[in-house]
């Protein structure tokens, strides 16, 4: 569909050139968090609680401080008091105060002249604990008599009479549920659970912090958002935000988990205490899994009604989520998105945010959405089975489209959900014959996407090449996308654009690369900043030709007279204008900043075929199809990569990934051997179809694509296992022992 004022014919957009950072990354030249070293730096190590819940009676660092090479030890006493709200939560999570709240909670940190000395010194710090009763399960934590993690943690939203561990409460909906369920020919209600899953980024958290007695300094760090990093680190330390300049490294994955702080304020505090020497800190995988954010675990009840011909008449969902020892489980998003794919008149959601003795959850790709989709899309699958309906046709019948009032309130603009369903139905995978013990699952999902604070600059170099400076770290190929959009705007080759990720000293505030916003928001800002440059270059040409700037147009990288009436002048290339700019008015650059609100959500539909070994319960993914609306795919190969990556992570969450806690409240599997993300050989090539329903809120029609892809896999895989085995399993992960027990007719 064509939109007024939106480009539809492109020269560079939609091509798939090599990523500009590719050579650095395949040759080892790219510098990640742990690659930053400076002369005289110290190495930090963290002392972590081995207990799930314990009062910290005493911390004695005498022996550690006496060791040769130990330069500083910090505890909570080295941080300011009096923080409130989320700032207090972040500070408490970075360094425990009165209590250790989970296995792995930092209680002290040390800086020394080598990593080994720091490690040994950390072991020499003696912490006396008084062990308290703990709770790690969301349902247990809400029960009467459950250990109270922290009195007074609940906010105004929580009704009276709930356990103090319930810290936020959400209740939303519309219509008349009784009426809606009365219209149904079939009502199905099921209870579901999902386990906490970690983002599983390959690069552990790493930073190098330097701060003097004047509270000024620098931080080099692996992060998704260096302004967030700066704000949170300085808040934890109680110093002015601008005192610290933050430079992001390359980033080996984040998926939302690197939008907050863990070791970074510690490195700055250690540096200050060690006389301003820089302190490098690198987490081990054990620390990453025990102490950084997995996503929340969930316990959910979903009830839906459907007519014989497949119309959803009503939906009700209750969602209980724990996100560790602090408020913040994304149950608000879960309630928003639980039924957002469908046009449902009567709908009601209730959400409970519950605290437990687990690490503070962090954002993970479409936070809150995959759990909701697991519950909702499983119930829809059951309804379709019972009523003998095709799962795609039924979804088409209920699909949200332009003008539908979303279950969370607003009316949808142009969206591509129907198109994803139609493309999935038409794809050969949907009609591939299935063999014994094989099954097919269909599920859909949605992510609303985000704009966020954005500031970007574009500068013309002396030879007419272009530098784009954005503030969103390149986590999934965004530099290639920015370069393509700049090339398109200027009409110059992709190779003539260089994209920098600027530090916090060079641009206005930028939100992180999160919310599937970077290609949308930084892309929009890049295009607008390029347009400002083009306006200036047209003016330079007009001045030279002695005509009105309005009589100059920009085409194919050149300023040209707009027509015969403007005069006869040979076009001036960007290189010619740039070569003279010192004498025609000085440097040429453009800038743009906004919190753009024209973002638009992305819908996706997945179709998966599995084979389940009836003797072992092991599930093999045979075929996997992702169909998703990208609005406009700037670099289609990286769009496909996002689709495939989301599917791979969702498959892992569905099949084998889980946080396993022992009776003692300790995490049993803080290692990749036992925290089982899929390995490459576990997955087939994931097929993709890019649907393009342009987003009118972006000059080229872009929608964010990063997050939607992890939403359908949980229910799609569960629905396929149901199809293969005849057993509906409402608990994730679908580990072999659980599936085998279900096949054997046991309660699971």
């Amino acid at each position: 569909m064509a939109l007024d004022g939106q480009k539809t014919a492109y020269k560079y957009i939609g091509t798939t050139p090599n990523r500009p950072d590719g050579l650095d990354k395949v040759t080892g030249r790219a510098r990640y968090g742990a690659d930053i070293s400076v002369p005289g730096m110290l190495h930090g190590a963290v002392v972590r609680s081995p207990h799930a819940h314990a009062k910290i009676v005493k911390i004695d660092a005498t022996k550690a401080l006496a060791m040769e090479g130990v330069k500083a030890v910090i505890t909570r006493a080295d941080f300011p008091e009096g923080l409130e709200g989320e700032d207090w939560d972040i500070q408490e999570n970075c360094m425990a105060g009165e209590k250790a709240l989970y296995d792995g909670h930092a209680v002290a940190a040390v800086a020394a002249t080598s990593p080994l000395v720091a490690r040994d010194a950390a072991k020499a710090i003696e912490v006396t604990y008084e062990i308290l009763p703990h709770v790690t399960d969301v349902d247990e934590a809400m029960k009467e008599g459950a250990p109270v993690i922290r009195e007074g943690a609940a906010d105004f939203s929580v009704p009276e009479g709930l356990h103090p561990n319930v810290v936020r409460y959400f209740d939303s909906g519309r219509g008349d549920l009784d009426k809606g369920f009365a219209e149904a020919d079939l009502i199905i209600e099921r209870s579901f659970t999902t386990e906490a899953a970690h983002q599983g980024y390959i690069e552990p958290h790493a930073c190098l912090g330097q701060m003097g007695a004047d509270n000024r300094g620098e931080l080099w760090v692996c992060t998704q958002g260096h302004w967030f990093m700066r704000r949170m680190s300085t808040a934890v330390l109680g110093i002015e935000t601008t005192n610290i300049r933050v430079t992001p490294s390359e980033i080996g994955g984040g998926f939302g988990g690197k939008t907050t702080v863990f070791i970074e304020p510690l490195s700055l505090a250690l540096s200050r205490k060690a006389g301003g020497k820089p302190v490098k800190m690198v987490m081990s995988r054990n620390e990453v899994l025990r102490a950084t954010g997995p996503t929340a675990s969930a316990s959910m009840d979903v009830k839906m009604g459907m007519t014989k011909d497949g119309r959803i008449t009503a939906a009700h969902g209750t969602f209980r989520m724990q996100g560790g020892a602090f408020a913040g489980a994304p149950v608000d998003v879960t309630t928003m998105l639980a039924f957002a794919n469908y046009d449902i008149e009567h709908v009601h959601h209730i959400g409970y945010d519950v605290i437990t003795n687990r690490p503070r959850q962090a954002a993970y790709r479409a936070p809150g959405a995959p759990m909701a989709a697991f519950a909702t899309e499983s119930v829809i699958d059951e309804l379709c089975r019972e009523l003998g309906l095709d799962p795609i046709d039924t979804r088409l019948k209920n699909a949200a489209k332009e003008g539908t009032r979303a279950t969370f309130g607003p009316k949808y603009g142009p969206i591509g959900f129907m198109e994803t369903l139609e493309a999935a139905k038409a794809h050969p995978n949907y009609s591939e014959p299935l063999g014994p013990n094989q099954g097919r699952g269909v599920a859909s999902g949605y992510w609303m996407n985000w704009g966020g604070e954005t500031s970007a600059s574009v500068a013309i170099s002396e030879d007419g090449s272009v530098t784009v400076s954005v503030g969103t770290p390149d986590i999934g190929g965004s530099r290639a996308s920015m370069a393509l959009m700049a090339a398109e705007a200027f009409g110059i080759p992709y190779e003539n654009v260089r994209v920098n990720i600027s530090d916090t000293g060079a641009l206005g505030v930028n939100e992180p690369t999160h919310g599937s916003r970077a290609t949308y928001a930084s892309g929009l800002a890049t295009i607008r900043a390029a347009e400002e440059c083009i306006g200036k270059m047209c003016k330079r040409a007009a001045d030279k030709w002695g005509i009105d700037p309005e009589a100059v147009v920009w085409e194919d990288g050149c300023a040209k007279p707009s027509g015969p009436n403007a005069g006869e002048f040979p076009p001036m290339t960007i290189a010619e204008i740039a070569g003279e700019m010192g004498g025609t008015g000085g440097p040429i650059s453009g800038h743009y900043e906004d919190s753009p609100a024209g973002f638009s959500g992305s819908f996706g539909t997945h179709v998966v075929d599995v084979e389940v070994d009836p003797e072992t319960g092991r599930t093999t993914i045979l075929r996997y199809l992702v169909v998703q609306d990208a609005g406009k795919a700037i670099h289609p190969a990286y769009v496909e990569g996002q689709f495939q990556g989301g599917a791979a992570q969702g498959i892992g969450w569905a099949l084998n990934e889980e946080y396993i806690y022992g009776e003692d409240g300790r995490l049993q599997n803080p290692v990749f051997l036992d925290y089982r993300v899929p390995v490459a050989s576990d997955l087939p090539m994931i097929d993709t179809v890019i649907v393009e329903v342009p987003n009118p809120g972006h000059p080229y029609g872009v929608r964010g694509v990063g997050e939607t892809g992890i939403t359908p896999p949980l229910p799609a895989v569960a629905n396929a296992v149901r199809d293969a085995t005849g057993k509906r399993i409402c608990k994730l992960p679908l580990r072999p022992s659980r599936v085998l027990a279900a096949i054997q007719g046991k309660e699971v």
Binding site: R119, N286, E615, T616, L673, R676, V679, S681, P736, S737
Partner: protein, 288 residues
């Protein structure tokens, strides 16, 4: 930490016998170095045996069997076509360990001496009837592989003793072996259950068999009852049922994050059936 690089097993044994604290022998290092880096075991004496002459050799014995040096990497075994033809089950057990990179370092003896009940290379060696040569202060002895592990992380090796080679018997006529493990993924994982079967045929009838299970007890097991269940049969359904039942009955596993008692016990039977079928087909000269 003291690093030693002896040039003979006798010297290595003497260093270990005199060492005071924690001692580790270093060959491939895929357990020892990982445990060192992960701060699990920091040895006081690290005795590198890679530089002893002959440790990297795969050689035929006089009797037609094989002698595998203690520093022979998994990848070298996989690339030895004759060894693979003789003992595919022994080789595939070794080959399942770790990644391609790990295969360039990891060794049979290291896998054995690490003492993990889930060690992938061990059931295949037990089923094949392998022995190891042990050198120590009291001299040299030959020990059956199944007698080396005594519990998780523990072996029957006395202070100052070390294994100097693995001997795999001659394959002989009409024999076949196989190793299967169950993992939730497809690779890079640790066995939830492992099972090796080695057998010999006379015509269609099994005349000799050895069955070994891994990850279902404190050590890898040699399951005599499981072997008896198929000896004298043509591996018909009744024999397979009896084999599976005997394998399951031999299990004494733990409930842990990797699998439940119930699951491990059931899957041990499933794998025993499947491994026996492969070994049987191999004994018949089929590609399996």
């Amino acid at each position: 930490m003291n690093y030693h690089s002896p040039s003979s097993f006798e010297e290595a044994s003497a260093i270990a016998a005199q060492a005071g604290g924690t001692t580790r022998f270093l060959a491939g290092g895929t357990d020892v170095l990982v445990q060192l880096r992960a701060d699990i075991v920091t040895p006081d004496d690290l005795i590198d045996i890679k530089h002893i002459p002959g440790v990297k050799e795969i050689a035929r014995t006089d009797g037609g069997g094989w002698r595998i040096g203690v520093a022979v990497a998994g990848a070298e075994m996989t690339e030895c076509a004759e060894l693979c033809a003789d003992w595919p089950g022994v080789v595939e057990g070794m080959d399942l360990i770790g990644s391609t990179q790990v295969q360039g370092r990891a060794t049979l003896v290291g896998n054995l001496c690490n003492g993990s009940p889930a060690a992938d290379a061990v059931p295949g060696m037990i089923a094949a009837g392998c022995t190891v040569t042990v050198t120590g202060p009291e001299g040299t002895r030959e020990v059956a592989v199944e007698d080396i592990p005594t519990g998780p992380g523990k072996t029957a090796l006395a202070k100052g003793e070390l294994i100097t080679a693995v001997t795999i018997p001659a394959r002989g006529e009409n024999g076949g072996d196989a190793y299967l493990r169950f993992i939730p993924r497809t690779e890079m994982d640790i066995a939830v259950v492992g099972c090796a079967v080695n057998l010999r045929l006379d015509g269609d009838t099994i005349t000799e068999a050895r069955v070994s299970l891994g990850a279902v007890a404190p050590t890898a097991l040699l399951v005599e009852e499981a072997a008896q269940a198929i000896i004298g049969t043509t591996l018909d359904d009744a024999a397979l049922d009896a084999l599976a039942a005997a394998a399951s009955a031999a299990c004494n596993p733990i409930d842990d994050k990797r699998g439940t008692i119930e699951f491990r016990t059931h899957v041990a039977g499933v794998l025993a059936r499947r491994a026996a079928k492969i070994a049987y087909a191999r004994a018949k000269g089929e590609n399996a």
